[in-house]
Symmetry: C2
């Protein structure tokens, strides 16, 4: 697994600092037990469950949150996993963590709910993101810093690859004859209904300055009294409404695609940090609309008939803005088969992907599109993961 | 389209009345214009947009809501469609309903948002369900009746089939080599996170009588102080928590599969009616947790290479409780090809599907499973739909 490739490029045109951060490493989960006072007693320090961890953080409003996340999230995750490790190594998680069976049919209840060990890893990832978000909030406030970041994490554990995503980075599986998305982007557009719903429940969050309704464009005085296309939180289709004065306010979600913004400010709707972020020149907070909880997908690596060149590509939005999944897969499939002897081929592939975003001649991007954003890429070979895991 | 088959069976063992109701008919949408006083002026009464409508309503707590829905929903839908008919017949819905173009790039804004005529039909279905729910609320209150119902509606319009679902009925497309679900069931289990989230935001809805958390089983005194499996609204995985006294309350969602109940009372989480429904012997209302808005899927019939025996099967949960999608498809594929000359074959197929739920010898249900619920089935042949639509 340590031959995973990583490459990054800093686009100084965008900001002075690289706002992307990356982290990777071994994840060593000890078997612990809670003492009476909730102190941790490491019972069997030699008994390890070992996994691997890769993470990308795309910062905004400065690099502080991304740096904190890169330094913190893996510890939060290790702690969360250690807290449930007895459930992880059992064939089925026990109803009670200490294994005491209070009701004889407890295993049956767990079975009927379909709760598996992988659900504990998903739960641990969800909790770790939230814990890390709290740490970042405290640290930023204590140090007088600001900012936020997206988080995309891959964890290889017990023959499975978990991908947890909060933000607009993306991970895909690329095989000889398959491209499978392993994450889903969370932006003001993809989370429109959740965000509008929140503004419906808590209208005070908009402080009378924004309208929660979506229109094809921002309305103006001439539209007053007309019937225009709109949709509200409960609608997935469109309808018409007669324009009132309050509809002329700035829209809660405004703009299309790459330009879409939440409260005119943020391009993502999930992530870590941003505890202090406010709409420019107002007291309106962004944080209530942001979720730190990731969506987690599970890839059962043990079930795949793995081939040498099967990889997972993780990258921040700077890559995906100029390269489609298909274009990335094409680059992967063109590069790897000819370089099977090269021990650095995954590193070189990651570098090549980065170069492809810089408008080089041989770039497959449409019309030689160039990324002016920071770009970070991990290329994770699954073959070695699978081998190690199945050898467990 | 009028050779669609319909059959139903009343299981008197369950209740005295048939709580299932069905409706179908032509949907004639007139081109209207709003007068100054919002009165409707039918400008071109001869100018029609014609569709077809099929609906199933599965009542609970008596047949009243289902009967009202069967008598009302199609009128609500017709009205909603007539209100946006100019947008339906245009190549692209105009930003302003009267067609006045206030900003020259309005068509471009609509284009960029990807708003198509079918989004207006989806919006009309969403609005019609909500309007119908309000009508039912008023009518039930005025007549001193109670009850609620699920609603599954199929509408064939301009070469497309729209399926709107609120509840646990189901529609599937069955073709020679394809089975495609056209709806998704809304139950306390499938909508767990939405329901828990609502209880998190408005804890007063539980009146201190229920816990919003999910556990593998209802907790009891012996569990106090133990760490047990649980999940909350933001979690898709599972974790452990130390049991407190408030965790011993009755769960907001309790039971598994067919037995799952919302607030110990209801097996569905979307539908019409239930405005007065309360948890037995309490003042706790169910209605805040129920959505009347349906999920709508669109089948582009014109894009399918239709074959003679392609059908949509719509049925209430009584059918799907004992027959899987695959079993229904097998019955459809066994029956239709041998009966191509029979003008009543879709009717006979619907009857045969019903009989298959009654544990007849030749039934393909596992272990001759029998449905004790009311069962209603529509079999809609797509071939004639496609022909009529494409001939428009």
């Amino acid at each position: 697994p340590w031959n995973a490739g990583y490459a990054e490029i800093i686009n100084a045109e965008k900001s002075e600092f690289n706002e992307d951060q990356a982290a990777c490493g071994k994840l060593c989960i000890r078997r612990c037990e809670f003492g009476a006072e909730e102190e941790w007693l490491t019972l069997c320090p030699e008994e390890f469950l070992t996994g691997h961890y890769w993470a990308l953080f795309d910062g905004h409003g400065g690099p502080a949150a991304a740096i904190l996340a890169a330094n913190t999230l893996h510890s939060c995750l290790r702690r969360q996993l250690e807290a449930v490790v007895e459930g992880l190594v059992a064939t089925q998680p026990p109803m009670h963590l200490n294994g005491r069976c209070i009701c004889p049919s407890d295993p049956q209840f767990v079975e009927e709910k379909g709760i598996r060990a992988e659900d504990l890893v998903i739960g641990a990832l969800e909790s770790a993101f939230q814990e890390c978000d709290e740490v970042i909030g405290r640290e930023l406030e204590a140090s007088g810093q600001v900012g936020g970041c997206t988080a995309l994490v891959a964890v290889s554990l017990q023959g499975k690859l978990y991908v947890a995503n909060a933000g607009d980075s993306r991970a895909i599986l690329v095989r000889r004859d398959e491209i499978r998305p392993l994450s889903f982007e969370f932006t003001p557009e993809t989370e429109r209904q959740r965000i509008q719903q929140l503004a419906f429940v808590y209208p005070e969050l908009l402080a009378g300055e924004f309208t929660r309704l979506e229109f094809p464009r921002r309305l103006k005085g001439d539209d007053l009294g007309q019937k225009v296309l709109f949709r509200d939180h409960h609608m997935s289709g469109w309808s018409y409404k007669r324009v009132e004065k309050s509809d002329l306010k700035y829209p809660l979600i405004h703009g299309q695609g790459r330009q879409a913004r939440l409260l005119g400010t943020l391009a993502v709707s999930r992530g870590l940090g941003d505890h202090q972020l406010r709409v420019l020149d107002t007291n309106i907070q962004l944080k209530p609309f942001l979720l730190s909880v990731p969506q987690v997908t599970v890839l059962d690596v043990g079930q795949l008939e793995l081939q040498e060149d099967d990889v997972v590509v993780m990258a921040t939005d700077g890559l995906w803005d100029v390269l489609s999944n298909e274009q990335v897969a094409w680059l992967v499939r063109s590069f790897l088969p000819g370089n099977q002897e090269d021990p650095h081929r995954f590193l070189k592939l990651a570098q090549m992907l980065i170069h492809s975003t810089q408008g080089k001649e041989d770039s497959p991007t449409e019309e030689g599109q160039v990324s002016y954003d920071d770009v970070s890429v991990f290329v994770i070979p699954l073959h070695s993961q699978g081998q190690e895991s199945s050898g467990h």
